[in-house]
Structures are given as C-alpha cells and as structure tokens.
C-alpha cells in the first residue's frame, strides 16, 4: 500500500494509565475506503488504542498520523475537526437531551455544521427509529437505540474516518444484524473504518482486514482473503489448547 493511501497510520504506540502500560508498541494502518477490524480478548488494549488515537489519553511514545499529517500535540477537539471520529464503547451520551437535539449538537465543529443538513438526512434514513423517537430523551433509550444514536452522533461530526468501539456490545442477535447492515452501509459509501469487536463472526462479515490485539501488541494481521479458518481464530482468542 502506498503512503498516500493510508488514512490512519499508527507507529510504535505506547500508552496506558498511571504506572501501567496497556499498549506496548502498537503499529497499524487503515487505508482509504478500507474497513479494518480489531479483535482480541478484553483488557488487552483495544479500547485504550482508540482512546489514545482520539487523545482521550495521551500517548507516551510513538506516532499517529491521519491523512498524512501527524496528530502529535493536538487535543480531542482538533482531531474531531480533522474528521477522525471516535464512537466510544457504551456511550451514554447526554441523558437529559433529546435525540434530535443531540444529533444537531453533534455537528459542533465548523466543518460539521456545514454538512449538518445532509448528514442529518442520512442518519435519519439509516436509522429510521431515531426519526420516530426524535423527542425522546437519551436516558430513556434502549441499548440498541442508544447505539444507533451513538453512531448517528459520530456521523453528524462529519467523519473522514470512523472508529467504532464495540458497536453491538450487549445487543440481541436481531439488533446486531440491524446494526451490521447499517455499518456495512456506511462502509459502502467509502468511509474508512476501524471497528473493535469481540464477536468474531460479526467483525469478519464487516471488514477487509483484521488485527488481533494481544497483551497490548498486534499479535497478528489477518487478511480477509487469507485462509485463516475459524478454528485458528478461536485458538488465538482462547489459547492453543482450548477445546474445539
């Protein structure tokens, strides 16, 4: 892949909380219009990685560049302005705000305000349920609706790339399916995406390529075309000796 085609490039990233290092030299990249998955056991750094890219936490070492420009020293707000949007895990959003208010507010940066109308139309078409419940407060939404709103909020930020952290966490299979269709639809418009998931079949159905994150490092890169079978992935996940 050529340099120019890389939308997000992370090199040798170290980050963590207090004295504890969670990420120990992660390198990965996402190309234009590419959907990339991150999977691996809980507590091995997937969420920390997204938090570090969006500057919720500050990296200790390593570099991150987005669309060819380094993100060092930029605040979360600047990163949103550039269009790198992080949809965090189990986002409770703004409990006392209504759905429409929240979506309108999410187009906060100047660039996002310019695209507000078009993005709002798209979000409401993508998730008709949000349109039906436009006056409902965030606190009263179900898990699935909240997840839809979270992704909708991300889209209202006028993304040039989306990072989704476990978009189907705790949802029923039916809702998962609904969200998978929506996410695939966003991808089909050429949106580069980095998707964190635990559900391996879910993520396989959505992405072009995957990284397996283990102990704060990229343990393996898997192309969709490669002949890694399901059992092999299960082994990575649960360890070699897990029963089939």
């Amino acid at each position: 892949m050529s340099e120019a085609a890389k939308v997000l490039e992370v090199r040798d990233l170290h980050a963590g909380y207090d004295a504890y290092d969670v990420l120990r030299g992660v390198s990965l990249n996402v190309g234009s219009a590419e959907r990339v998955g991150l999977f691996g056991p809980n507590g091995h750094g997937k969420t920390t990685l997204l938090n570090t890219v969006s500057k919720v936490i500050v990296p200790r070492k390593g570099s991150i560049s987005f669309m060819g420009e380094p993100l060092a020293g930029l605040s979360s707000r600047r990163i949103v302005e550039r269009g790198l949007i992080h949809v965090p895990q189990a986002n409770t959003l703004f409990p006392d705000m209504e759905i429409m208010e929240t979506l309108e507010l999410a187009a906060f940066t100047e660039r996002a305000r310019g695209e507000r109308k078009a993005n709002l139309d798209y979000v409401l078409k993508l998730f008709p349920r949000l349109a039906e419940r436009r006056r409902q407060q965030c606190r009263t939404l179900s898990g699935g609706e909240r997840q839809m709103l979270s992704i909708g909020v991300g889209l209202m930020c006028a993304p040039r790339m989306l990072m989704l952290d476990e978009p189907t966490l705790g949802l029923s299979p039916k809702l998962k399916e609904e969200l998978a269709i929506a996410i695939a639809g966003i991808g089909a418009r050429g949106m580069p995406m980095l998707i964190v998931e635990q559900d391996i079949s879910f993520v396989l159905s959505l992405v072009d390529r995957m990284y397996f994150v283990d102990h704060g490092e990229i343990a393996r890169e898997i192309d969709r075309g490669s002949d890694v079978d399901h059992q092999e992935i299960m082994d990575m996940y649960f360890g070699e000796h897990a029963a089939p």
């Binding site: 006392d96 705000m97 999410a106 909020v153 930020c157």
Partner: protein, 293 residues
C-alpha cells in the same frame, strides 16, 4: 386577615423570590455544568453593587447609572473568569474537586468581602434606583425598582432557558454538564465552555447585585447573606434542574414572606429550614431533581 395584608405578603414574597431566583439560577448553572458550588457567588453580587456605586454615585465618579451597571457587570464577569482560572481550573482532574472548591470559593468569598470592606469602608451605601418612584402593585405600594425586579427576573430567566435550550453554545454547556467525555469526542472544547458558564453565572450575580443594590443597603455581606438561602434553594429544587431551582426560588420566597408575617423575622429562617428538611426526607432528590442511580 384582610385582602390588603394578603396582597402585601404576596408582593413582598414575590420580590424576595425574584432575587432568589436570579441568584440561585446562577449557582445552579455552575453546579449543573461543572459540578461545584460557587460560594463566592454572593461576593460577586457585592462586588458588582460596589463597583456600580463607585461609578455612578455622586460621592464616587458621578457618572450615568447605566455606565455604572455596565461596568459593574463587566467587573463581575471579569472576577468570575479570574476565579475559574485561579481557584477552580487547577482541580478539574482531582477526584475531590467538590470539597476542594468549597474551600477555595469560600476563601474567595472572604477575600472579596474583606477586600470590599477595606476599599469601600463599613458605611452603608445604596445605589440610585434604575426606575425612581412608587408603583401600586396588586393593591400594595412598592418601589418602582422592586417592580422592575419582579418583571425582569422572569424575563432574564426565560432568556437563559432559551439560550440553554436552543443555542449551539447553550446546548454545548448542557452537554458538557451531562457527559464531558462524550462532549469532547464531538469536538466541544470543554474547558472553554466551563469559562463561558462561569462568566454567565457571574453576569447573573452582577445583575442581581445592581438590581438589589438600590432596594437594600450595600454592605460587605450584602451578597453573602442571601447566598445561604440560594444554596438551599438549589438543593431543594433538585440538583441539576434549572427549572426546579426557579420553582423552588418562588416557593421559598413566598413562604419566607408569609412566615415573616405570621411568626416574625426571627423564627422565619429556622422554620424554612425545618420545612426543607422535612421535604427532603420525603423527596431526597429535591422537587424536580432526578433520582441518580
């Protein structure tokens, strides 16, 4: 009890309530957004009243009253921003921010109170009223200035409500209060909105100070005295609910006026507190507060 007394009690209650509502909504705004109580809120009122007096009174610069009010509100906003920067901001990431800022804002209150005593002396001062004369309101004669307060309070609070509900910055302020992390991830500059919130609250304090400064005597304790009640009102109305704060302000203002009439000025405050305690036993979350799980 005649209709005249009822009207007199009601009118004095409404005046009191309007002042409480203006004060408490400034406190409530800072609480809802930053999660702290600003004990120096009343001191900002005092500062504004003194500044307005200095600029506009004949014994001071003797300028037009409007100039005094404008300078006073600007001074309150300036002091508010300074307070946020110096005594609140350093503790944002501290998990005991609430307790620490109780101390720092109390210190600021004492600082402003004693400082104004040094600068302006202990002699009572009074601002000229914005509107002179008397008005007959519901059969009771009150000063035109008090009428102005009665009319202006709901207008200002209504504007504040519209701002928070419909404007981009106002919605941003609410969002930051409800979930600062989610706000950051949609590109909101959280610390900038904290400053704007503090400035807005200080402007409300300043405005309350200049309105009240011609009705009551301005002393160094001019704003700190009603502050305790404003604090109680914020809790009584339900933490985090501006509507609850305003409702509580009007209820307590009216109640206080009635109690003063029936049991006298000495026992009224303690009776109010007892009633509040009883209400909070039944509804710990306050009138319109939400139950936090």
């Amino acid at each position: 009890m005649t209709a005249d007394t009822i009207s007199a009690v009601f009118v004095s209650g409404i005046v009191l309530a309007s002042v409480y509502a203006l004060m408490a909504s400034g406190l409530s705004l800072v609480w809802t957004t930053l999660g702290i109580f600003n004990f120096a809120h009343g001191a900002l009122m005092t500062l504004a009243a003194y500044v307005a007096w200095t600029v506009s009174d004949a014994a001071g610069l003797g300028l037009w009253l409007g100039a005094g009010i404008a300078v006073a509100i600007a001074a309150a906003v300036g002091a508010g921003i300074l307070m946020e920067r110096l005594i609140v901001r350093p503790f944002y990431d501290h998990r005991d921010i609430l307790l620490i800022t109780v101390m720092t804002t109390l210190a600021a209150m004492i600082f402003i109170e004693k400082g104004s005593q040094l600068v302006w002396g202990a002699r009572l001062k009074q601002l000229r009223p914005i509107v002179p004369g008397q008005v007959n309101f519901l059969g009771t004669t009150i000063s035109a200035q008090e009428t102005l307060i009665i009319v202006l309070a709901p207008v200002i609070l209504g504007l504040l409500w519209l701002f928070l509900r419909n404007s981009r910055i106002g919605r941003g302020i609410r969002a930051v209060g409800q979930n600062p992390n989610a706000a950051r991830l949609i590109g909101i500059d959280v610390s900038r909105l904290f400053i704007i919130t503090f400035a807005l609250s200080a402007a409300l304090a300043g405005l309350t100070g200049v309105l009240l400064g011609s009705v009551r005597m301005v002393t160094p304790a001019f704003g700190s005295e009603p502050l305790v009640k404003a604090l109680i009102i914020v809790i009584f109305g339900g933490l985090g609910s501006l509507g609850g704060t305003i409702l509580a302000a009007y209820l307590i203002g009216l109640l206080e006026a009635a109690l003063i009439f029936f049991i006298g000025i000495y026992w009224a405050p303690s009776m109010i507190f007892i009633l509040l305690i009883v209400v909070l036993l039944v509804r710990p979350q306050g009138l319109l507060g939400k139950v936090v799980r």
